[in-house]
């Protein structure tokens, strides 16, 4: 191997190590028998995982996060697919401006959306409500669906749908039986991203939760702020395993690296 090749390999290895280091450290920390956080772990135990799974606060937070992410994804899929279809297939006036507006939450500071909604919800009297939180999560996830479905639609020949119409299908039938199945890759990747973005969100959620209800990332966030113990590492490890499994399955099913 030449010097350049060795340098190249070394750089790749270092960069991947940098990307994965905090992940490995969290997993190792969750296995320590000590009651304080230490890496490398002293002794090996799965005790902290048991503590997490028996702790009702963690279980409630996980349930809240899952329900919230499912609601946000469902809402985003409906609103986002309708909007993407209109933008690609119908000659709507000002389509470029509209799609820029729908994409805006992608680059808008999350903390600004969070505090703006905290003030707005307080003024209209729905502060701390689950509906308000879910609506906010639809706002931050809908761009992912719009983008993915628009990309999918652009690759589908519009004349297939017209053919269905000519053969007597109503606009709705044509959409649901012809167009929708053809844009399934967009729906899957948009929905997947929505779910992850919603499940992970802290900057918006943290301002909108009430005292009795918290999501998993916000719970971990507040725990880490006030000092850490191995149960935080254990619940984080569970998240790492879930994310990893989801990613491998998604790659197997959709081959998403092709979209990258």
């Amino acid at each position: 191997m030449s010097v350049a090749r060795v340098t190249g390999r070394l750089y790749l290895a270092l960069l991947l190590a940098f990307l994965l280091a905090p992940v490995v450290v969290v997993v190792l920390a969750s296995l320590s028998t000590t009651s304080y956080l230490t890496v490398p772990p002293k002794g090996l135990t799965l005790r902290w995982f048991g503590e997490v799974l028996r702790n009702p606060e963690f279980l409630d937070a996980i349930a809240t996060s899952l329900v919230l992410a499912a609601a946000a994804t469902a809402g985003s899929l409906v609103l986002g697919t309708a909007a993407a279809y209109a933008l690609v297939r119908r000659a709507v006036p000002g389509a470029a401006g509209v799609s820029a507006f729908l994409m805006a939450p992608l680059v808008f500071p999350g903390v600004v959306i969070g505090v703006a909604l905290l003030q707005f919800y307080t003024q209209v009297g729905i502060a701390g409500s689950f509906a308000g939180l879910a609506a906010a999560h639809v706002v931050i996830t809908v761009p992912y669906v719009v983008r993915a479905v628009m990309a999918s639609l652009a690759g589908v020949d519009g004349s297939i749908e017209e053919a269905a119409r000519v053969l007597g299908a109503s606009p709705l039938t044509a959409f649901f039986t012809v167009t929708l199945p053809l844009v399934r890759p967009g729906l899957v990747s948009g929905g997947l991203f929505s779910f992850i973005i919603s499940f992970d969100n802290v900057p918006v959620s943290i301002f909108l939760l009430n005292v009795r209800q918290t999501t998993l990332p916000v719970k971990i966030f507040t725990m880490v702020e006030y000092g850490v113990d191995p149960s935080v590492a254990a619940v984080s490890t569970l998240l790492i395993i879930a994310t990893g499994l989801g990613l491998v399955l998604a790659e197997r099913w959709t081959g998403f690296h092709k979209f990258v």
């Binding site: 209109a86 507006f101 808008f108 703006a116």
Partner: protein, 280 residues
């Protein structure tokens, strides 16, 4: 006019106006209200919250630090990410999908978890300090958290995958034949890179840089966890204004300032991109 098209767009637009645009706009009047300690929003109108933004030394320092972090993180992710982006865009190896997965995995992994991992690495008794102490490189733990270093490391880790994916897409769009032609015409690989690949990937460099800059100056979780309550950036300062001090007018003014910076950067990049397209 296409009525059915508008009908399909209406729900999404209404939601974004009611739950996003209007609430953000409503922060502007709040930012012009006086703040009464212990009570919150006062009566009457004042510009004092904005005056404070440009005169208060603490606020100015936090603002400068935020912008400085934005530029540094952007530069580091660009330089460190470009070669990997190039490999992902050009390799024909069977390992490519898994390379992409390795880059995407940290991106999808929860932000709080990743910041927590960096705490375990960078704390005074963290893995990095313990290792250096054990090796005898240092005599006392060095401060890697609650300062610029900690935030730079954590934020670079978070935004490196974004930069790599944007750059890889841009490089992928450059026909490989152009590089081959340059080689055939006698340019060595360095010259080919500097005169062909790099200039043609400028749109990706611009897009990735603006994205990483905007996301860095907006980040809340990582700066809070790695900077603690004392080493503040604009986002954490806004968070404290709203949650700890209950100074909504002051916090709203800061939120308006952060929004203005983000919108200015995006406007600036659209202008540049438009010019590039005209020339290109």
């Amino acid at each position: 006019m296409n009525r059915r098209g508008l009908l399909l767009l209406t729900p999404a637009i209404v939601l974004l106006v009611v739950v996003f645009a209007a609430p953000v706009a409503l922060m502007f009047p709040t930012s012009l209200r006086p703040y009464i300690p212990g009570q919150g929003i006062g009566e009457g109108w004042t510009a004092e919250n904005y005056v404070k933004l440009v005169t208060d030394p603490f606020v100015l320092r936090v603002g400068a630090r935020t912008i400085g972090l934005g530029f540094t993180v952007t530069l580091v992710t660009l330089v460190a990410g470009y070669p990997l982006a190039y490999v992902i865009a050009r390799t024909r190896s069977r390992a490519r999908p898994w390379l992409v997965v390795l880059v995407v995995f940290p991106l999808l992994l929860n932000l709080v978890v990743r910041s927590f991992g960096w705490i375990a690495l960078l704390a005074n008794r963290g893995l990095v300090n313990e290792t250096l102490l054990a090796l005898g490189v240092i005599d006392a733990p060095i401060r890697l958290m609650f300062n610029f270093t900690g935030l730079l490391v954590g934020l670079t880790h978070i935004f490196l995958p974004f930069m790599i994916l944007v750059l890889a897409a841009a490089i992928h769009n450059i026909p490989a034949e152009l590089e081959e032609a340059s080689g055939t015409l006698g340019a060595n690989r360095a010259v080919t890179f500097l005169t062909v690949t790099l200039p043609l990937s400028l749109p990706g460099i611009l897009g990735g840089s603006i994205l990483v800059f905007v996301l860095t100056i907006s980040a809340l979780v990582t700066p809070r966890l790695l900077g603690g309550p004392t080493y503040q950036v604009m986002s954490t300062m806004i968070y404290d204004q709203f949650v700890q001090l209950l100074d909504w007018p002051g916090g709203s003014a800061m939120a308006m300032a952060l929004t203005a910076i983000v919108l200015l950067m995006i406007g600036f990049s659209s202008l540049l991109a438009a010019r590039y397209r005209v020339r290109g």
